[in-house]
C-alpha cells in the first residue's frame, strides 16, 4: 500500500528553474525532432477556421434582419390583439345595448314575468304612437268628422 507523503521543505521555483537549465536543452532538442504536425492537419485547422469565420459572418449579417423581423411580427401580433380586444368590447357594448332595449322594463323582472313585461313593452310602444287599445276609442266629434 502506498502512502501519500507531504514535503517538509517547500520547493522554490527559482531552484527548480536552475536545475531545469541543465536538463531542458536535452529534452527540447530531443523532442524538437518530432514536433511538427503534418501539413494536412494544419490545412484542416485553417479550413475549419475559414469555415467558422464564414458562419459567423453569415450570422452577423442575418441576425439584425431576423431581429427586425421578429420585432415587426411581435408588433403586428400586439396590434392585432389590441384590435381584436377593442372589437370584442364594442360588440359586447352593442349587444348589451340591444339586449337592454329589447328587455326594457323587464331587466329586473323576476323569472316568469318576462312574457308579461314584453307585452307591457308592446303596449307602451303602442301608447307612444297613440295606438294602444285603451286610447284607440274615437271621440264622438272625431267620429262625426270622419263620417262626414
Amino acid at each position: 500500500m502506498t502512502m501519500k507523503t507531504t514535503r517538509e521543505n517547500p520547493i522554490s521555483p527559482e531552484a527548480l528553474e536552475n536545475e531545469l537549465k541543465a536538463l531542458e536543452p536535452w529534452v527540447r532538442q530531443a523532442l524538437s525532432c518530432a514536433v511538427e504536425p503534418s501539413p494536412r492537419v494544419i490545412r484542416a485547422i485553417h479550413n475549419e477556421a475559414v469555415r467558422q469565420v464564414e458562419v459567423q459572418r453569415r450570422k452577423r449579417r442575418f441576425i439584425p434582419f431576423f431581429r427586425t423581423l421578429a420585432a415587426a411580427a411581435t408588433l403586428a401580433l400586439l396590434l392585432g390583439g389590441a384590435f381584436q380586444i377593442h372589437t370584442t368590447r364594442l360588440e359586447g357594448i352593442n349587444s348589451r345595448a340591444i339586449g337592454h332595449i329589447l328587455n326594457l322594463g323587464a331587466a329586473h323582472a323576476p323569472d316568469g314575468m318576462a312574457t308579461s313585461s314584453s307585452a307591457e313593452l308592446a303596449n307602451r310602444l303602442l301608447a307612444i304612437q297613440g295606438l294602444d287599445d285603451e286610447n284607440f276609442l274615437m271621440h264622438s266629434e272625431e267620429a262625426e268628422s270622419l263620417l262626414l
Binding site: 517547500p10 527548480l16 536535452w26 514536433v35
Partner: protein, 189 residues
C-alpha cells in the same frame, strides 16, 4: 493587421471578429510546443495529430468565449480536457517500441525520423531515444507537469491553474520528474 508581435489574446479576438489569418498565426506560435507536448503525452504521432486538430477545432469554436488571463493556460486546459476524453475512450499506449497502427515504423524511429545532418544524425538519434525513453517512463502526473514546463513553456503558476492543483504540488511533481530524469539519463551516460 495582426503580426508576430500581436499578443495571443489580440490574435484570438481578431479571429473572433472574422480574421482567419489571426488564427493561423496563433497555430504557428503554439504548433511546436503543443504538438511536442502531445507527442510526449500520447507517445503516438497519429493520436497526437488527431488531438492537435481537435484542440484547435475547439479553440476555433470557443474563441468568442475566451476570457481567461492567459491564452496559453486556456489552450492547455482545452488540450488536457481533450486528452482526458481521448484516454477515457482509449487506453494509452506509451511504449516507445510500439508500432503505430497507421504506420509500421516503430514509434522511436518516427520520433527521430527528421532531417538531421549525416554527421549529427547518429548522435542526435541516440540522444533523442534516451531522452524520450526517460520522459515516457515518468509517471503521468509528473510527465504532464514536466512537458508543460519544458515544451509548453508554461510558468508553474499557469501549470497549477491548468491542472487545478496547488502551486506547491506542481513544483513537487516537477522536482520529482527532474530527479528521476537526471538519474535515468545520468545512469545511461
Amino acid at each position: 493587421m495582426p503580426d508576430d508581435s500581436t499578443s495571443d489574446a489580440d490574435l484570438l479576438s481578431a479571429f473572433a471578429k472574422g480574421d482567419a489569418i489571426a488564427l493561423d498565426l496563433l497555430v504557428a506560435r503554439y504548433r511546436q510546443a503543443l504538438f511536442s507536448w502531445l507527442m510526449g503525452m500520447t507517445g503516438n504521432r497519429a493520436d497526437a495529430e488527431d488531438l492537435f486538430q481537435d484542440i484547435w477545432f475547439r479553440v476555433i469554436r470557443h474563441a468568442e468565449r475566451f476570457n481567461d488571463v492567459s491564452f496559453k493556460a486556456w489552450l492547455w486546459k482545452i488540450a488536457r480536457n481533450i486528452l482526458i476524453d481521448f484516454r477515457r475512450k482509449r487506453k494509452p499506449d506509451l511504449s516507445l517500441d510500439a508500432v503505430d497502427e497507421n504506420d509500421d515504423t516503430p514509434l522511436l524511429n518516427q520520433l527521430t525520423a527528421t532531417d538531421i545532418g549525416p554527421a549529427d544524425s547518429v548522435e542526435q538519434t541516440d540522444l533523442t531515444k534516451r531522452v524520450m525513453r526517460a520522459v515516457a517512463s515518468l509517471p503521468e502526473v509528473q510527465r504532464d507537469v514536466f512537458l508543460m514546463r519544458v515544451q509548453g513553456n508554461l510558468s508553474f503558476g499557469e501549470i497549477a491553474t491548468t491542472l487545478g492543483i496547488p502551486l506547491n504540488t506542481a513544483l513537487g511533481r516537477m522536482h520529482d520528474a527532474m530527479t528521476k530524469l537526471k538519474k535515468m539519463l545520468g545512469d545511461e551516460k
